[in-house]
Amino acid sequence: MNMLRSIREKKGLTVSQLAARASIPARVLSEYEDGLQPIPLPHAKLIAKALWVPIEDLMPPAGSVPPLPQQTSSVPYQPQQMIAVVPPPAVQAPPAAPSAVSAQAMPQPPSAISYERPRTYGPTEKDPKEHERRSADNGRGGEGRTTRPSSRPVPPPPGPISEGQMEELLRLTTRLEIDQEQLEKRIGKSLSMLTKPEAKEWIKRVRAMADEVAPTRKVHFGQWPEGREDREAAYLREQQDANAPFVFTLFNGERFNGVITDFTPYTITINHAATGEEVVLRKLAIVYYRRTANGDTQAGIVSDTDNIVEAAPKKAARPRASTTKTANSDKTTEVAAPLAEEHSHQPVDTGLDSDRVGEPVTPEKDNMDEDRGV
């Protein structure tokens, strides 16, 4: 029995369901099942995938006699040769060498895998004369090579190297800083003698060489690390895990030292070394920070800023830093003075809903006074 049909029935599928799964027309499928058509390899793959079976299972069991084609088809049913992945043992083939008579009667078997395009549309019956013509051919020439349909044109021989390919090869040689002769020696023939596919292959190879030896200098802004990775966050995480003492310098010259306990893209929370309180520092207010030597967590101004070469006197007019200290008991107390006393607004970060801290207490004026009788 046909393997395709038995597998399909075992899986409880109808022909049309399998057709939908394998995206092969149902009519073509039933032809395969009836043995009217050999299953070309691309279709065999699709069917095997749709049925969830290995492709070998689609082969009929060895020794079974393939059903004779009822209709004249261009290629006789030879399932093992059509979709065999491993060439099966020659059960069907007679032990004796094929005689001239059998060779005349049967067309030359096709190669192990049919490269013929799978048929999805069109009539099932082909020109019956084609069969005759082919077998006649075989009888005369005996060359084989009959699986390719005669309608398919023989691909033209590859043309010579194109202008653009030549240009690219020369450009690559300059990038590699070698001469054209050196490249030609490596290829084994002159550049102009190369064919198009050969040139394509060589361009690929030489480009890989050039990319390795002399990478291009071109820098794309979007590819710079600042756009891709947050190095600062990685550093902070590392230092947070290491429990390293840090000293933070704010823009008004204030210094905080302590251990980083948490950080966000906009803030760094430290455990203040002097008071043991948690202090949230705005990154906006931090100018720089650095790790101090281990054990040196003394409060106050740290003097070991060795790469600060000169420190100018602090401007007196600088407003104070905006810091919010959070005591360990979660009680938020604002200790820093407002950023700018001369303005009525409060600092940005006095609380979670700090957006509206500067809101006037008096209700807004409207034009409804007349209605109220004022």
């Binding site: 600062e232 966050a233 720089y288 000169e310 420190a311």
Partner: protein, 149 residues
């Protein structure tokens, strides 16, 4: 400090003004203010708008126009080159302090600069506070060469 960082700073100093509030007070469209803040390339070509903003924030126009030249991308370019070539650099901060060393890494918001002598603890400088920069061997500052003396 780039113009974008400076506008951010000024907004924060004034108590977290929104671009709309600034637009209302200064007459510069909120969209322009927003663009100046978010773009990394040189922004603020419109001198008239900068004058309005300076008047609104109560700072001098030079404050704004000088910072216009210190745009982010220029700093990024400098940082990238000096990190690749490992050349020692000097960064001047807004507080007129100077930090020197080689660039270890940089990201969107910060630069890690390590002193040449020991390489254990880099100084992480927030990019917003870098006012000027130069190569260590070059006495001229990139943004304002005349201030170098």
């Amino acid at each position: 400090m780039s113009l974008s960082d400076y506008i951010k700073y000024l907004r924060a100093v004034k108590g977290g003004l929104t671009p709309w509030e600034i637009a209302e007070g200064s007459g510069v469209p909120a969209r322009d203010i927003h663009l100046i803040e978010v773009k990394h390339r040189r922004m603020g070509d419109n001198d008239e708008a900068l004058q309005k903003l300076a008047a609104f924030f109560g700072v001098s126009v030079e404050d704004l126009t000088n910072r216009r030249e210190a745009y982010r991308k220029r700093l990024t370019e400098f940082l990238h080159e000096s990190r690749e070539s490992k050349t020692p650099v000097v960064l001047r901060l807004e507080s007129d302090e100077q930090v020197n060393g080689t660039i270890q890494w940089y990201s969107r918001e910060a630069v890690a600069i390590a002193p040449q002598s020991e390489d254990n603890s880099p100084c992480i400088v927030q990019r917003g506070w870098i006012s000027d920069w130069r190569r260590a061997e070059n006495p001229n500052w990139e943004i304002k060469p005349e201030v170098s003396s």
